[in-house]
Amino acid sequence: MQFDLEIKYPSEPLKCWAKGKELRDKYYQDYASAHDSGGIRWSGGAAGLESVMAGFGRDVYPLTGEPYGASIAFDRPFAAKCQAAAEEAGYPRDVCAYMRNYWGSKLLNSFAFGGAFPEPDLYWQFHSCCSHGKWYQEAARIEGKGRPVFVTDCAIGPYFKFNEKTGNYYAAPNENGIRYVVNQLHSHIEKIEKYLGRPYQDELLFEAADNQFANMTIWPEIFMLNKAIPAPLDQKSMFSLYVLGALNKASADFRAFYNELKDEVQDRVNRGIAAVPTERARVMDDIQPPWGFLKIFRHLENYGCVCIGSYYSASLMFAWDITEDGMLVPKKTPKQRGIEIKDRDTCLWHLADFLLSNLWFNNMQDNGLKAWGMKKMYEQWHCDGIMIHYNRGCEGLSMGVAEQRLYLAEHGIPVMSFEGNMGDAREFDEAETIKRIDTFMETLGLK
């Protein structure tokens, strides 16, 4: 401890922590071993619809690229090897760090979770980020085996619009845009049926979609519980928990885990159990952290400061909505809205609607939403300041970050920025960032 801080609240480890880790490990093992029992492996972006692929059987296993790239980033020596391999192959240092980690892992034929890289049978990317549209095209090229790459274009314009009168954003779904995405999904299903030689099963789609809607909303419900003082969860722990939604939103196991986690977090709130027992201040952050240096979030605790999460960990793969009075709330699932799904088109429609309403998808269309959303989070989660990561490793989520910082500062919100890279340790200066955090804590009066 940097200071002699008063222990204000009881604290205890999360009971379901180990289970979350097990599920994550099992996910990668299941993917790697899928071919042993004749199953299907596929890979694509985490901001996608795993439930659609689930219609091809119970033995279909995804590998989502971003969390895989982040897992590599966490292992700095392996990440350095992957980046060197990617750069040797001619990929420049300024493209997405996750992409370089993934490609490097492929080029080295080394899977971060052991053994050779388990090549997928096909790729399916939902294209919202400009650079990620090329991710799997290159992955397939590196393999050189002519595996198909399906790309669903999701650039339909903003889902949320700004109301000048109220000063808030509101949901304004573009029905033609949603239909455009749904039509692509129908077309992809037909093509993949032919490629795999497997019939598509709508019942499996409905079941997986039900899980996907639930997983996309239970985590936001858990996140809402972190408004409590003391905060029952802290950012560093949340990074290990939110990620399940980035691995496979259609998983029944993950849904069961999130329900269990929600009950436990609610219990922690009821009993006043704190993530940081000395909590006297709260901050939030914005986007991906430098994964190899998560200790910066622990450093905050030296000041009795808890990071309650981020716009990123709250919403990356999840579904939020905005109330009439401009509050962020978990989006209601079709079931919660009394909608019964009985046919493929309706199911795909609601899945597309969920995906396109994702707050991060919208950052690519209107980055003013993120600035507004962070201000709302700051207010709703009772924060004292915001940490902004000028993440050189991600073009998409960093879009507009400097303007967002100014917007927050102009609204009287204490903001600190630090420069780094989510996946490339060479671009993060740990000592300087720690110094900057120290300065920020002092400006918040935490001495």
């Binding site: 000028y390 400097a402 910082r405 100014l406 500062a409 102009e410 009287g412 204490p414 903001v415 600190m416 920025s417 420069e419 200066d429 300087e432 110094k435 900057r436 120290d438 300065t439 002092e442 400006t443 001495k447």
Partner: protein
């Protein structure tokens, strides 16, 4: 009550001694390879030169990039806090502070009560800090003093586009080969640096009154370029490189008064 503020910069150690809130001594020393020894030497020389003994001192607070190496200090604090405290004590009306040291450049926004409300610091690169000018003076084979004088005599603005001190040096060499007037090259260096510092300062929305602190505040050529770039004049401070050490010494007083 005697307190000491020690500002451990990348190039120099600055020491300020306060007695009953008044500056009674100040001194400095160069930072050499043995950091702890450099800091202690500067500290002891300042005390000795001004007739103080270490045992007379009630509290020592360190600040700056190498504050942790001031092992004899009771505590350390950040540069932003120290500079803001020092400036506020001298002129409470100051809203924006631009501090330019050898290694770091920063912009600090205060709220009129001395409280820091926003700050921005250069990232990883010294192209907007004092070392940049020194490197360019070396490339031009002139003393820093002559470099500043030449810059102020220039009437022509030439862009230097490189972000990096190494590439900028190449650009300077190219300008020399093109037989560009020395005065204009010197000014170009200051203009380039002022551009970088201004863009960083604008992140906190520069508002008058503004002051410039740190060792580079002695560089009139740099101040001239910065003034043109920001379109505003600055409140001048005496001994601008000692402001952080002074602020640290004042914070030491605050600590003792709270105890």
């Amino acid at each position: 009550m005697i307190t000491v503020g020690v500002d451990v910069g990348a190039k120099k150690v600055k020491v300020v001694v306060l007695k009953d809130n008044q500056i009674v001594a100040k001194g400095s020393g160069l930072m050499e390879m043995d950091r702890e020894k450099s800091i202690r030497d500067a500290f002891e020389d300042t005390l000795k030169t001004n007739g103080f003994k270490e045992k007379e001192i009630d509290y020592i607070l360190a600040t700056g990039a190498g504050a942790k190496s001031a092992v004899f200090a009771a505590k350390d604090t950040t540069l932003v806090t120290s500079i803001a405290r020092g400036v506020h004590a001298i002129d409470p009306s100051i809203i924006t502070i631009i501090d330019i040291g050898a290694n770091d450049a920063m912009a600090i926004k205060c709220d009129g009560t001395g409280k820091v409300v926003d700050f921005a610091v250069n990232e990883k690169c010294a192209a907007g800090a004092g070392s940049f000018v020194e490197a360019m003076a070396r490339a031009m084979e002139v003393s820093l003093e002559d470099f500043v004088t030449a810059s102020l005599q220039s009437t022509k603005s030439i862009p230097i586009n490189a972000q990096c001190v190494i590439f900028a040096e190449s650009e300077v060499v190219s300008l020399i080969h093109e037989e560009t007037a020395r005065n204009d090259i010197c000014r170009a260096v200051h203009d380039a640096m002022a551009g970088r510092i201004s863009s960083m300062a604008r992140r906190v929305r520069v508002e008058a009154p503004v002051t410039v602190t740190g060792g580079v505040a002695y560089n009139e050529g740099m101040l001239d370029s910065l003034k043109k770039e920001l379109g505003m004049d600055f409140v001048r401070m005496e001994n601008p490189e000692y402001i952080a050490a002074y602020g640290a010494a004042l914070l030491a007083v605050d600590t003792l008064q709270k105890a």
